[in-house]
């Protein structure tokens, strides 16, 4: 993007400085409400990566954020801002639930591809309408995807209250999925190899799916003709059109992939953890995806690292509430907001001075 800085500064130094600023301000917030930020940091780290048990939770959250982060990242490459991860993941939950409940699955290996396809298909379908309206009618995708988040939630509440509620149950949730649709947890999978792992963390086979999704997105964006078209379109629409790339096709395909990835988050939460469809299974993960994609600079490796960081924050944040009652769980939402603000919106605040510094260093050098 600019020739003033070496690549490592653009890829690593700037995001790191942004992150540092976000954490610094978060620390000040903790200080302001009368707790020691360093103490809080220690609790977060201990609570999230201090034991196999806590890793089980951290990586479970990471799985969610990888999916939603990749979803935002793929759309970013086509210069589309998909804020609708929340709604797409909600619909993905519906698809996953329908797949799980469709027949009495004999074995999870048979159910798994159908669940994944169901979640991805429903998520992609929910992204299709805003994508079409953007591509054909020029309706701003940010506004339409926000609206579709609200519509998705209303739709899910309607379905759970009126259509899919388990008979005899008061709560708006479906019946528990059949045992054949149970996805193996980390505890069960590691037991195949004779490795012990705590039983209660919800980490499951979806984590491997998330890693596969990272590889898929990397290959798609940087190793295929389609990925080239997406990047070219995102870089300059007129140039892409001149090169014979169809904007309609790029917008539709990138948004369908994006929606599908967001939907696949439900494989982890709905099929993997809850094993029934609940009202709020997404819990803001769709929005965390924005922070993850921004921090990860829309690259799968960056997204994975950022997703782990947010997994640590989410799991550590839960521990924080236990240990320091003054710091409630919402501290995580604040940190998340500051990360989005500093890495996304205030990027130039760091970039401009660093750029100047590099220019001066270059001039100073003989």
């Amino acid at each position: 993007m600019n020739s003033q800085m070496p690549k490592w500064a653009d890829v690593a130094l700037i995001p790191l400085l942004n992150l540092l600023l976000a954490f610094l301000v978060s620390g000040l917030v903790v200080l302001w409400i009368g707790e020691n930020p360093l103490h809080a940091l220690v609790i977060i780290i201990k609570g999230s990566i201090g034991s196999a048990y806590s890793w089980g939770y951290t990586l479970y959250y990471t799985t969610n954020f990888v999916f939603t982060g990749l979803a935002v990242a793929v759309a970013f490459h086509a210069k589309m801002f998909n804020i609708g991860g929340e709604g797409q993941a909600t619909l993905g939950g519906l698809g996953a639930a329908l797949a799980c409940l469709s027949i009495d699955w004999p074995h999870w290996l048979l159910a798994f591809p159908v669940i994944v396809a169901g979640a991805a298909l429903f998520g992609a379908a929910w992204a299709a309408v805003p994508a079409y309206l953007q591509a054909r009618r020029g309706s701003h995708i940010v506004i339409t995807t926000i609206m579709f988040n609200f519509i998705a939630f209303a739709l899910l509440v309607y379905l759970l209250v009126h259509v899919m509620k388990a008979p005899g149950s008061m709560a708006p949730e479906t019946k528990t999925f059949p045992p054949g649709a149970h996805l193996p947890t980390a505890h069960e999978m590691l037991a195949w190899f004779g490795i012990g792992f705590p039983k209660s963390p919800p980490l499951n086979v979806s984590f491997l799916l998330a890693l596969a999704a990272c590889v898929f997105v990397w290959a798609l964006i940087w190793r295929t003709r389609l990925g080239y078209a997406i990047r070219a379109f995102g870089f300059s629409e007129p140039a892409a059109v001149y090169a014979g790339i169809s904007p309609f096709r790029v917008i539709m395909i990138s948004m369908l992939i994006s929606g599908g990835l967001a939907g696949m988050m439900a494989v982890n939460t709905v099929a993997g953890e809850a094993e029934r469809l609940l009202i709020d299974s997404v819990q803001g993960a769709g929005f965390v995806g924005i922070a993850v994609a921004l921090m990860g600079r829309s690259h799968p490796v960056g997204v994975l690292l950022a997703a782990i960081l947010f997994g640590i924050l989410y799991q550590g944040g839960a521990e924080l509430e236990f240990e320091l009652p003054a710091v409630s769980r919402e501290m995580i939402v604040v940190i998340q907001a500051l990360v989005i603000l500093f890495t996304g919106a205030l990027d130039n605040m760091v970039r401009m001075p660093v750029e100047k510094l590099f220019i001066r260093m270059r001039r100073g050098a003989p």
Binding site: I143, I151, Y158, V334
Partner: protein, 322 residues
């Protein structure tokens, strides 16, 4: 449905529309000046919290409102800094502000009051009280006109009465003053404004501050007028409905008022009737009523019912040529 029910629904429409009207006008000023703002929700929430919190501490709703307005305007300044000075992405900045407000209000609320993110209930001077019109009690029994006067017009809080004149004031400022002309110009063609020797940056900052002020009024109304205290995430998507209304109204003040009244009416109906029976069509579920503002906005955005064209320079940071 009898006459008394109609009056009740219209009465609650007035209350429910008020925060939408303020937030929608806030968005109007900002977007007309070329700054997209999806952080209306967050600014309202921050103002709702600080209004209620300071009113609870001091017992004065006016001091509370001042605090709320300050909080909202500070967030507006952050948005201005990100989108004007540092030329960042305005949408991302809006998202960040929404999260920041949602997290901070719950965090500080729990820290200060230990009530699970709520503020204590406000009473007396701690909140805006209904203003009874003269003779409202006397003529309540007069048929038709009595209920309209005593129930629909009379008995709202100060901010409800302020909201409608504000719409016309906004129209007057934007379309009948020099400042308004410049503000609109900066949203359509900032280069021209710059060439004319005016500061694009200055005008845009003024617009974001007005946006913060109006969001603040909407938020203050939520926690000290409509309700008696703050509860977690009490804006519940109102900032986005206001944004929807703004697009629905195609960025025009008086139409914005009508759109907000319409969305307020939908909400009032959804609250009054859980499920609506329409003969021949069956029941309209509550959730459809709740989703209707969003669905209508998508339909409008799709351009099937007229075309919604935003201000031309919206969302673009202005870079002065050197």
């Amino acid at each position: 449905m009898d006459f008394a029910t109609v009056i009740q629904i219209l009465d609650s429409m007035m209350r429910l529309s008020t925060p939408l009207i303020f937030a929608c006008l806030a968005g109007l000023f900002s977007e007309r000046a070329g700054i997209f703002d999806i952080g209306l929700e967050g600014k309202m929430l921050a103002s709702a919290f600080f209004s209620a919190a300071v009113a609870a501490f001091t017992g004065s709703v006016l001091l509370g409102m001042m605090a709320g307005l300050t909080a909202s305007m500070l967030l507006a300044l952050v948005h201005g800094m990100a989108s004007i000075t540092f030329r960042g992405n305005q949408l991302i900045s809006g998202v960040a502000i929404n999260f920041f407000a949602s997290g901070m209000t719950a965090l500080i609320g729990q820290n200060w009051f230990k009530l699970g993110g709520r503020t204590p209930s406000l009473s007396g001077d701690g909140r805006f009280l209904p203003i009874e019109f003269p003779f409202a009690v006397n003529i309540e029994s007069v048929p038709i006109l009595g209920p309209i006067y005593s129930e629909l017009f009379s008995g709202h809080t100060f901010l409800v009465y302020l909201s409608i004149p504000t719409v016309f004031l906004a129209w007057w400022i934007l379309f009948r003053t020099r400042f308004g002309l410049r503000l609109r110009a900066v949203g359509e063609n900032p280069e021209a404004v710059d060439t004319g020797g005016l500061s694009v940056t200055g005008l845009r900052y003024q617009a974001t501050l007005i946006c913060g002020l109006l969001c603040g009024l909407g938020g203050a109304y939520l926690s000290t007028g409509m309700a008696a205290g703050f509860i977690r995430d009490m804006t519940a998507g109102k900032g986005f409905i206001a944004l929807a209304a703004l697009i629905f109204a195609k960025w025009r003040p008086v139409y914005a008022l009508l759109a907000c009244l319409l969305f307020g009416l939908l909400e009032a109906i959804a609250i009054r009737f859980q499920n609506i029976e329409i003969t021949g069509l069956g029941t309209v579920p509550l959730q459809l009523m709740q989703a209707l503002p969003y669905i209508l906005t998508v339909v409008i955005l799709a351009g099937f019912v007229g075309k919604a064209i935003p201000p031309r320079a919206g969302g673009e940071p202005y870079v002065k040529e050197r």
